[in-house]
């Protein structure tokens, strides 16, 4: 059986029948390892495109491979915009499964006829406050949910003399000045959904008012441009608007010692689904189906809760089995978070955030400080104060105007090809932004005058 290379060529068809080269004795004086070479029929394979972090991928990859001996999960990785470009340029024939938090891509690929229908799974089709998390037509199914809320450092919050935050508006307390982080849409991948959690949960105008009031406590430094929670973990910042999975559950309910983190879900917040689908051109449709069935199975959904993964399952029965979970996405009274709405206006929201909150930030904070001082010195009455706060928290686009499809389109993010530069903003867009800036400036000026008159 020895071939001319001196290695053993077994030409076995099945791995189970594998023999290995003899000659490796046990004991401490075994000779160096011998080799066996097996040639098998093409092994079974499923090619999966994802943007999940490696630790999550590895957990499911290993569990699936162990449950299906001989099958290999091959991972291709791309962020959502990059993935869409790749899939539209022939990638659908190279992958079997698309598995990722990118609801827009699933909706587009379905509309473009690129997805195969899944066997409907009634459990995975559940809805949050009436809003379905999976595709009602069965082309893509929810796999997990990302919950939005407040990460905070209990010790730091205590030192500010405040109770633990419960809702977004708690972060607008002036004691938090300079101690809160708020991810900037356009800078941090999850920030657009974060902003929508407030805008949809509180309504457009009240939502912007809350965001503006919280922004007074933010410094829009590097922490607001990155998804990391380091600054809260170390106590430099007291609280941060965040996704739940950035905070490990081991620390989520931790006893409040310095450096540990807690996380709270506001009463009405977003639980945004991530999905899984099979390509209509999958090279390995059978293993693809097995992989998707596995991801949606109860054991895999239970694995989502493990500390290396820490995501929220989509199967309701898992919540029933885990009453200790602070997240209850399917509880009644939750926000029916609408991600299609987020997508439709995310360019607009990002631009408004920039013009209304980030650009005039230094000036706005100075005015907020002046308001606090006036209040402390008991200058002015409640009505006047309310008037000033209203000026500091108003946005240049009201509830009715934001509905305008043309306006939303003006700010929509374009889909780019690799190497293609960001398009320069249109003259029309620049004109709208200039108007917003003028309006914002005028409001701040009025607020300043009112403050000086106190």
């Amino acid at each position: 059986m020895s071939n001319e290379t001196g290695h053993i060529d077994l030409k076995r068809r099945r791995l189970t029948g594998l023999l290995l080269a003899a000659g490796v004795a046990g004991g401490f004086c075994a000779p160096r390892a011998a080799f066996a070479v097996a040639t098998g029929e093409g092994e079974k394979r499923v090619v999966v495109l994802t943007s999940y972090p490696e630790e999550l991928i590895a957990r499911f990859q290993k569990a699936f491979e162990q449950a299906n001996p001989g099958t290999r999960v091959e991972i291709l990785w791309r962020h959502s915009a990059d993935a869409l470009t790749y899939l539209r340029r022939g990638g659908m024939a190279e992958i079997d499964v698309y598995w990722t938090p990118a609801p827009r891509n699933f909706a587009l690929l379905k509309a473009e006829g690129q997805l195969a229908k899944l066997a409907p799974d009634p459990q995975a089709l559940s809805a949050i406050a009436g809003h379905p998390v999976s595709d009602p037509d069965g082309y893509y199914a929810a796999f997990e949910l990302a919950g939005y809320g407040i990460a905070y450092n209990p010790e730091a919050v205590k030192q500010l003399g405040l109770p633990p935050p419960r809702d977004w508006r708690d972060l607008s307390h002036h004691a938090y000045r300079g101690r809160v982080q708020m991810p900037i849409p356009g800078r941090v991948g999850f920030a657009p959904v974060m902003a929508e959690a407030v805008l949809q949960g509180q309504g457009w105008e009240e939502g912007w008012a809350q965001l503006a009031a919280i922004a007074a406590n933010v410094d829009f430094g590097s922490g607001d441009r990155s998804p990391d929670v380091d600054d809260v973990a170390t106590g430099r910042k007291a609280a941060r608007m965040s996704i739940d999975f950035f905070i490990s559950p081991s620390r989520r309910n931790a006893n409040p010692a310095a450096g540990e983190l807690a996380f709270v879900y506001p009463p009405r917040t977003a639980f945004n689904p991530a999905h899984v689908a099979i390509s209509a051109h999958a090279p390995h449709p059978e293993t693809a189906k097995a992989f998707v069935d596995f991801l949606l199975s109860t054991p895999a959904q239970e694995m989502l809760l493990e500390p290396s993964v820490r995501r929220l399952p989509v199967r309701r029965e898992v919540y029933a089995a885990h009453p200790e979970l602070s997240a209850q996405p399917f509880a009644s009274g939750n926000l029916a978070y609408d991600d299609a709405l987020r997508r439709d206006r995310q360019g607009l929201v990002a631009a408004l955030f920039d013009v209304a909150l980030v650009q005039p930030h230094t000036e706005a904070v100075a005015l907020w400080n002046a308001v606090d001082l006036a209040w402390k010195e008991q200058r002015g009455n409640d009505a006047r104060r309310a008037e000033i706060v209203a000026l500091l928290t108003a946005v240049p686009v009201d509830e009715r105007a934001q509905r305008d499809a043309g306006l939303r389109r003006l700010f929509a993010f374009p889909d780019l090809a690799p190497g293609q530069p960001e398009p320069t903003p249109s003259a029309e867009r620049l004109a709208v932004e200039a108007r917003w800036k003028t309006e914002t400036r005028a409001r701040l000026d009025t607020a300043r005058r009112l403050l000086q008159a106190l």
């Binding site: 160096r32 098998g40 490990s248 290396s308 090809a417």
Partner: protein, 459 residues
């Protein structure tokens, strides 16, 4: 022989009552109770100059990144392949910890790799790559490029008997290959199967002056007690000269930066200023075709990004030892010295100057390594030379943080190929220069052995 070991150990036994200083000097941190699985990811921000924070963050996100196949909208993280093992550093170093060997021949290697070579040396005295497969088997190819094949492990077991009658089953891997894409492997093939080691504390080890390590080798030789570590001398590509090897199971990398560049190139197919050429042996035509494509951009990782990844490694704190005043741990510590473990697993080293991150300079550290190569006997041998390391030599791995290995990774695989399933098995595999120490452990009473293990688990 025994007397010699005893004399040597006398010199090495520390006063027991002495409170242990932090494992990594100023760069140590106790794990947060309940969050031990993050113990290898802690960054001591307050010890890092503020202007470097963004670079450390950037290095962390690149180390955690799963890399993307070119072309991509995100060229910064693109360049995986043409062939590769895994798409992310964390695939093999989960939680900055160690990789696991597959339990059965049906399972793929997910946290380890196989080095390949044939007799001879490359231009710098390193291993000579296998002509068709290069110096490492890459299981995966990007679409259009076949993966090179799959390696698997089959385990042979045997039982060891300790002096008190306790029996311990040990397992030893045999390597096999399947689905080889480019024909049979070379007749003179040599292989080395290695799991990924943990990646904290490397800045401190890099900061230990070369002269101190060479002095240790000299002292071991002079003691002539059966232990005589040798420095590896390897090629330092950045400085274009030979240097002391410090990293990897055979100390075949001189610096953290070159080690990371080596991982990017060898494990992920990403080119850098240290490894500017994609690794495509000429028979691999699909791979070579990709390499020849005009729109390929090399190096795929920028110099600044590779620097950031390196800085992130330097910024990782060493987990501090725990339960240091527990009587059992103290007994175990004494046994660690009397058994001769401390000769190779040097408890204390001192760092010299370290301009890249001056907080690492001038520290007294407790890594439990001498960074030297030791002949560990035929049982552990891979038979594959690596620069000056011969087929039986391995670098003493640091033991700091080893007690947290199980909390960080859901397995307890130890030694270069992950064969040991716990600390005792790892010790029982010590042969060659480690044989005396192993025999000392074999002779211990159960209580003494438990104490020794309790000491290791407290590190």
């Amino acid at each position: 022989m025994r007397t010699a070991a005893f004399v040597l150990s006398l010199v090495l036994v520390p006063p027991l009552a002495l409170a242990q200083e932090p494992a990594g000097g100023d760069f140590s941190v106790l794990p947060v109770p309940g969050a031990e699985r993050e113990a290898f990811q802690r960054i001591l921000w307050e010890k890092i100059p503020n202007p470097l924070w963004d670079k450390v963050r950037s290095g962390r996100s690149l180390t955690r990144q799963t890399w993307v196949i070119s072309p991509s909208l995100e060229p910064r993280i693109a360049g995986l392949g043409p062939t590769y093992n895994r798409p992310s550093c964390l695939s093999c170093h989960p939680g900055n910890g160690r990789g696991e060997a597959p339990a059965s021949p049906a399972d793929p290697m997910r946290g380890m790799l196989v080095r390949l070579s044939v007799p001879g040396q490359d231009g710098h005295g390193g291993p000579k790559p296998e002509p068709h497969y290069g110096d490492q088997l890459n299981e995966f190819g990007i679409p259009g490029v076949p993966g090179e094949g799959e390696a698997f492990l089959e385990w042979a077991t045997h039982t060891e008997r300790l002096a008190d009658g306790q029996e311990i089953e040990l397992r030893q891997p045999k390597i096999g290959f399947r689905h080889l894409a480019h024909g049979p492997l070379h007749a003179g093939l040599m292989t080395s199967v290695r799991i990924a080691p943990p990646i904290y504390g490397l800045g401190l080890l890099e900061a230990v002056p070369e002269a101190d390590i060479l002095a240790l080798a000299k002292a071991q030789k002079a003691a002539s007690a059966g232990v005589a570590g040798q420095p590896n001398r390897v090629w330092d590509a950045a400085r274009r000269r030979e240097a002391l090897g410090r990293f990897g199971w055979k100390a075949n990398q001189p610096t953290t930066r070159q080690q990371i560049a080596g991982a990017l190139a060898g494990d992920m197919g990403i080119t850098s200023d240290i490894s500017p050429e994609p690794n495509c042996p000429s028979v691999q035509s699909a791979c070579a075709a990709i390499k020849a494509k005009a729109n390929e951009r090399h190096p795929e990782i920028s110099t600044a990004d590779l620097d950031d990844m390196t800085l992130y490694h330097f910024a990782l704190a060493v987990p501090d030892a725990r339960r240091q005043n527990d009587p059992q741990v103290l007994t175990g510590k004494a046994l660690f010295h009397t058994a001769g473990c401390a000769v190779c697993h040097q408890p204390t080293l001192k760092t010299g100057a370290f301009p890249t991150l001056s907080a690492l300079a001038g520290q007294t550290i407790h890594p439990y390594t001498d960074l030297l190569l030791h002949d560990m006997g035929p049982g552990l041998a891979d038979g594959r030379p690596d620069y000056r390391a011969n087929g039986q030599q391995w670098r003493t791995p640091p033991l700091w943080g080893i007690g947290l290995a199980e909390a960080v990774n859901p397995h307890t695989g130890l030694l270069h190929d992950g064969r040991a399933r716990n600390l005792l098995e790892a010790i029982l595999w010590h042969g060659g220069e480690g044989e005396q120490a192993r025999e000392a452990v074999r002779r211990m009473s159960a209580g003494e052995r438990d104490a020794l293990l309790a000491f290791l688990k407290a590190l």
